[in-house]
């Protein structure tokens, strides 16, 4: 019996040595394979990961997670997540009897090197921002990477010195495509009488010049820097404390049967993003479909109907959450002075302005 076992062992050792010489590792872009080694029908007691692992990092790190399969008599590992650019993957096959263990490195796809992303535009577009300016919208030409805004966006004073503590830290408010970033000036510095307001003053001071700088080396979503640094020069203006009042707006109604734009002038710049969805037009046949335009440094809203205006009475329906640049809502200042008994606090969610579309004599 003992002699027989020895013979089997010799055969196995000879066999595996022969196999080890031809074992190789292959990567086809999605899966890692062990070639030249025939896996058993079932995995070893420690699972396939006990003999075949792929690492995407160095040092004391766990292996890549994924699934194992035996396909066409080869052991195959498919990573759970796609192969990433700029990463080196190290596959290690270490089965009993295969000596030395087989190891091979593979590189993920190369990163593109041609930068094309840039800052498209910034709102407010005006050259003068109120001292209690609340938010900025930065539009990028392509999706950007998160987690970078705090070190890539700066406000410089007239002497080119970076001003500290301007924006709310730790909050990156993106749209779902990472193409529009909303930055909030530190509200603790804007709200009157708070500790920050008292000790640091407002972020923007009336009469001073500033430069908003957005670094060109901010990587976009593909990891590439932008094509260049963006700068916007502006001046601080007086704080705006009075809430917007639709009764003071000018509504220029177009003629019936035309597709001319309805033009609403606010008398002050308003929040660009909110102008896209907080004003609606309702007419004799219900809500009017059309296209929105925002002009004159966000102080004018133009609405072009999808079909010609019919004569009749219309309403401009205004969501009272509509804000100006300083976060003042319709009928409600950003920070309400409760000593000021004149201040009206609107609690409804919508208000409206009525206007008439009149017929004109046909030529």
């Amino acid at each position: 019996m003992k002699h027989r076992l020895t013979c089997i062992a010799v055969v196995l050792v000879l066999g595996t040595t022969a196999i080890a010489q031809s074992v190789s590792l292959q990567f086809d872009g999605t899966a890692f394979k062990v070639l030249g080694w025939t896996p058993a029908a079932s995995p070893p007691s420690g699972g396939w990961s006990s003999i075949f692992r792929v690492y995407a990092g160095t040092g004391d790190v766990p292996p890549l997670i994924g699934t194992y399969a035996v396909e066409q008599q080869s052991l195959v590992f498919r990573p759970r997540y796609p192969i990433a650019a700029g990463v080196r993957y190290r596959a290690v096959f270490d089965a009993p009897g295969v000596r030395p263990p087989v190891e091979k490195s593979f590189d993920g796809p190369a990163r593109s090197t041609t930068a094309s992303t840039h800052v498209d535009r910034v709102y407010p577009s005006a050259g003068v921002l109120p001292g209690n300016q609340l938010r900025l919208y930065i539009y990028f030409s392509a999706p950007m990477s998160r987690g970078e805004a705090e070190r890539r966006i700066h406000l410089l004073d007239a002497g080119g010195k970076t001003l500290p503590g301007i924006f709310l830290p730790g909050q990156e408010l993106w749209d779902p495509n990472n193409r529009r970033l909303t930055m909030t000036f530190d509200p603790g510095r804007i709200k009157r009488d708070l500790t920050s307001n008292r000790s640091m003053g407002p972020p923007i001071v009336d009469g001073r010049r500033y430069t908003l700088v957005i670094d060109g080396d901010w990587p976009d979503a593909t990891g590439l820097p932008m094509t260049g640094t963006f700068r916007k020069v502006f001046r601080g203006g007086p704080a705006v404390r009075e809430p917007p009042d639709p009764k003071s707006w000018k509504v220029a109604a177009p003629a019936a049967n035309s597709r001319d734009a309805l033009v609403v002038s606010f008398g002050r710049p308003m929040n660009y993003a909110l102008l896209q969805r907080m004003l609606k037009v309702s007419g004799p046949r219900g809500e009017v479909a059309g296209a929105i335009g925002v002009e004159r440094e966000e102080s004018e809203w133009r609405f072009t109907p999808g079909s010609p205006w019919a004569a009749g009475q219309y309403k401009l329906i205004i969501d009272t959450s509509l804000e100006d640049l300083a976060g003042n809502k319709i009928g409600q200042p950003f920070d309400i002075d409760v000593f000021d008994r004149v201040t009206e606090r609107i609690t409804t969610t919508a208000t409206s302005v009525v206007f008439e579309i009149r017929s004109t004599a046909k030529p």
Partner: protein
Amino acid sequence: MQYRKMMTQVTLVVGVALAAVFTVQAARTPAAAGDLAGGSSGLKSAGALAFGPDGVLFVGDSVGGAIAALDTADRTPAASAKIDVQGIDEKVAAMVGVVASDILINDVAVNPISKNVYVSAARGRGPDAAPLVVRVDASGKLTLLPLDNIKHETVSLSDAPDPNPAARQNPRTQTITDMAFVNGNVMVAGMSNEEWSSALRSIPYPFKTAARGTQLQIWHASHGRYETQSPVRTFVPYTIDGQQYVLAAYTCTPLVKIPVSDLKAGAQVKGVTISDLGSGNQPLDMVPYKKDGHEFILIANSSFGVVKLHADNLGQYKPIDSPTVVDVAGAPYDKITALTGVRHLAQFDAGSALILTAAGGGGFGPAVGPMSLRTIALP
């Protein structure tokens, strides 16, 4: 010891009916996690974390505008143990095949039953970043939760998306800044990327019995004079003199107490500022605890480091009824200078906290790895 004296008035205007939400929950039995259905969680991002009953982990999805309740199936009680994982970002990156700088860690939470730690993160920094939730056990082993096949329930916080895929995508998002499970409700603080709002939402759990829950409008009045709507950045349930409160930190700085029991339909509830940690700072996470017969709150801050607030006398701060009352008091606090680079903080057990620290960054800058996850004795 440093301290500041300040007391300001907070007014909560209850926007919609709240009647039953905070009053009957104590009698409710939480749904067994085993009742949840399997399948893809549908998470588009994994942000704020909070544990509910029975090993259920609530995950805030700011990108998808939803909250998922995941059954972690992690219900084996364990004695407290230490956690110490160096380079957690590097380890997670290696598991999912990216470089460490492509892992953004968003939050940490401790399963109160098993004491296992859960970390939410993103694989990638772009709009297609994949959500990750990783379990870390006492041995330091990392396990990725299978978000594509896990028992879960989801509640949407936003309007249904346009069924027409060609329609213009709504750029408005509501970023979930913090969550907590309070009396059978998931309370959710958030910030819009468009209007300046102050929504604090309360959603009864299990989700199937309720829609999006109720919503509070929170106001902050400084020095009894200027009132402002104020989004909440972080908050934690807390009991003062037998009464339940939410301790909340506003984006505009102060730390306030909001009495939960007074939140009834149509009521205007006045809360009180208990401390102000100073200008240019944002509280990130809070852990209340007791030690040597005294109450404290450990607070991690964006730029002010970690502080230990003395909380024995929070009950003495009363709502200010008159706008003419000026600031008169504030809870004292100590700076814990031995703790640096703390980005997240969570309660681990009665005597220890879990911290996520970053080797670099700090101040107003983003965290820079490598990052470490470890338990510390509460100071």
